[in-house]
């Protein structure tokens, strides 16, 4: 029963990672940009939503404000800074977007302080649902899973079935050729980036009531998101989905069960310390193993 609950927790965490990873992997695949500041957009979504939710008391307003803020700030940053980085090498991109993280984190501290912000759950999702007899599970977390699956489906349809999706896929495999064929690739860049920012904002809004809304929340999840897209294969939304679920499961399940298993071998406090350490390392071990086995990830988008 505990196992079922933890598997759902893992799925929920994986879905959150997917929302971030989907945008990041497309930006990565099409523009060739390593955007460390993607986690900042997630943080912006969470802060804006918590602030709006506390001011108005309406979750819908919070959702719209959070996603809107992340998308607007994301597109503004793309236009002012990131656009100039597409043609640069990865090192410049890493350092410049690292500078953006410093700025956004400190700006959030100045606006909202260092204390975590409280984000309220919508009352109609505050209860829990009995999925299996005897296993109640919070409705809000189930809603996150449902929203994430819907987004995954919508993204799949967008990328696989629409004209825009066709251009995105084309940009993924050869952006110069797409430009040469007369497509306004700059517009596609902005749209894709805005879409990624919107999804990051959505993840931030939904994360608010579950995790704490505070400065630095973006980086914790950002590094895991990078692990996800490296495992899944850069540029592949399908890879991001599978990678995100894999990482979410591995992280959640090792955290939940490893200390308990180690207690059979070690004393309680040692088992806790070692178990926590190893479970924090588990996803990175997974990534290293995948990269050594398949250096381009599980589902490389091209080639």
């Amino acid at each position: 029963m505990l196992l079922a609950e933890q598997i759902l927790n893992g799925a929920q965490f994986g879905i959150m990672l997917f929302l971030l990873a989907a945008g990041l992997t497309l930006v990565f695949g099409i523009m060739g940009l390593i955007n460390l500041a993607h986690g900042s957009l997630y943080m912006i979504g969470a802060f804006a939503a918590a602030w709006a939710g506390n001011a108005t008391g309406s979750f819908l307003t919070a959702l719209l404000v959070g996603m809107g803020a992340a998308a607007a700030i994301g597109m503004a940053v793309e236009a002012v800074v990131l656009r100039r980085l597409y043609a640069r090498d990865h090192l410049d991109q890493v350092v410049a977007t690292f500078g953006l993280i410093l700025f956004f984190n400190e700006a959030a501290t100045m606006l909202f302080g260092r204390q975590p912000l409280f984000a309220r759950m919508p009352p109609w999702l505050a209860g829990s649902v009995e999925l299996l007899p005897g296993v109640p599970y919070p409705a809000y977390r189930l809603a996150i899973i449902a929203v994430g699956l819907l987004v995954a489906l919508a993204l799949y349809l967008l990328v696989a079935r629409t004209r825009l999706g066709m251009l995105i896929r084309a940009g993924n495999s050869d952006r110069e050729m797409v430009r040469a064929l007369g497509v306004d690739i700059g517009l596609i860049y902005t749209l894709v980036f805005g879409l990624g920012a919107l999804l990051a904002g959505l993840a931030g809004v939904m994360a608010g009531p579950v995790f704490s809304v505070q400065v630095g929340m973006g980086e914790q999840v950002l590094i895991l998101t990078f692990v996800v897209i490296i495992i899944g294969g850069i540029g592949s939304v399908r890879g991001a989905f599978i990678g995100a679920l894999l990482v979410g499961m591995v992280d959640t399940l090792t955290r939940a069960f490893l200390p308990g298993l180690l207690k059979a071998l070690l004393s309680t406090s040692e088992a806790d310390a070692v178990g926590n350490g190893v479970s924090s390392m588990a996803v990175y071990l997974l990534m290293a193993a995948v990269l050594l086995w398949r250096p381009r990830g599980l589902f490389p988008a091209h080639g």
Binding site: V95, I230, A273, L291
Partner: protein, 330 residues
């Protein structure tokens, strides 16, 4: 052409001599203006300069963008911290290795373990390139970071403080000025060694890795071995830098291995100029002084530093060393 090269060479040489004079005169300078506590800041700059210069070997010369260099820095720091802990405690590490607070034991140990960590991580990571290499080095550094956090015996999250500093025969390392000069000698020694290495066949091959691996292989030089050797050397030197940093602060914590530390080191290298070796020390000085000045001015200094970094990347390419020395990258 030959004339031009010689002219450039002189200007860079003058800059090197000025830098060397500044490093030597710094303790007198801060004593003269009545701010002797600034010696610690100077030592920190030289230590970070050493770590950044070692990173420049692989990023600037070898073209391998490692986003996990702080891992080796942290390994060196923890070697010193853990040995000092056991020396103070009178216990043995893992029941066999006695502790030590002798610099001549702890620092070589930090170099060896930093190098071994780099050898193991490099052997696996160097099978990938580009973005994957950036991310896999970050992943390994994160693993070591969480390992440090889980070391409850050695303070876990809170870190481990120890005293006194490691002892050197014939020198009082507790004296800030003496310690500063110890760091300065090690830094200059490494820069000389690295310069000689870069001017030798190894250095040429390393630049060959950056420019075109396939062509290098066609010339009969296996790129993998060159890359791994450079990566290991850089890790060993970062281990030494970590050992020195631990001594400077008499404190080690997982903060030493935090991924933002790897980011800081990359910033220093870029600020000074990729592939300029000495530029990294200049970059470390500029970044640390900038941080210190901004922090004295406002608590929210990062809100200024962030955009400054972005602007530097966007508009000022090539790094400070190239500007001052009138050279582009090596």
């Amino acid at each position: 052409m030959a004339k031009l090269t010689r002219a450039k060479f002189t200007r860079e040489r003058i800059l090197i001599l000025v830098g060397l004079a500044l490093i030597l005169a710094y303790p007198w300078g801060v004593a003269a203006v009545g701010q002797p506590f600034l010696i610690g800041l100077g030592a920190r700059i030289l230590v970070m300069g050493l770590a950044a210069a070692s990173l420049d070997l692989i990023v600037g010369f070898g073209g391998m963008v490692s986003f996990g260099h702080a891992a080796f820095f942290g390994v060196g720091g923890y070697v010193v911290g853990i040995l000092a802990f056991h020396a103070h405690d009178g216990t043995d590490l893992l029941g066999v290795i006695p502790g030590s607070n002798q610099a001549l034991v702890a620092w070589p140990a930090a170099i060896v373990l930093g190098g071994l960590a780099a050898l193991a991580i490099g052997a696996l990571s160097l099978r990938t390139t580009g973005v994957h290499f950036i991310m896999i080095t970050l992943a390994f550094a994160q693993m070591l970071f969480f390992l440090a956090v889980s070391l409850k015996t050695y303070g876990g999250d809170d870190g481990l403080s120890f005293r006194p500093r490691n002892l050197l025969p014939g020198l009082d390392t507790r004296n800030e000025t003496s310690f500063y000069y110890v760091v300065a000698v090690l830094l200059v020694g490494f820069l000389i060694l690295a310069r000689r290495l870069l001017d030798a066949r190894f250095g040429t091959a390393l630049r060959g890795v950056r420019e075109n691996e396939r062509r290098l292989a066609a010339l009969g030089i296996a790129p993998y071995g060159i890359k791994l050797a450079a990566f290991t050397l850089a890790g060993a030197v970062a281990g030494l830098a970590g050992a020195l940093m631990a001594n400077q602060a008499r404190f080690v914590s997982p903060e030493l291995l935090h991924w933002t530390k790897s980011g800081d080191l990359l910033i220093m290298v870029i600020l000074g100029g990729l592939g300029t070796l000495y530029g990294s020390v200049l970059g470390a000085a500029v970044l640390i002084i900038l941080e210190t000045v901004l922090a004295a001015w406002t608590e929210h200094w990062m809100v200024v530093l962030g955009p400054v970094l972005v602007a530097l990347i966007l508009f000022a390419r090539g790094g400070l060393w190239g500007v001052l020395a009138g050279t582009r990258r090596s």
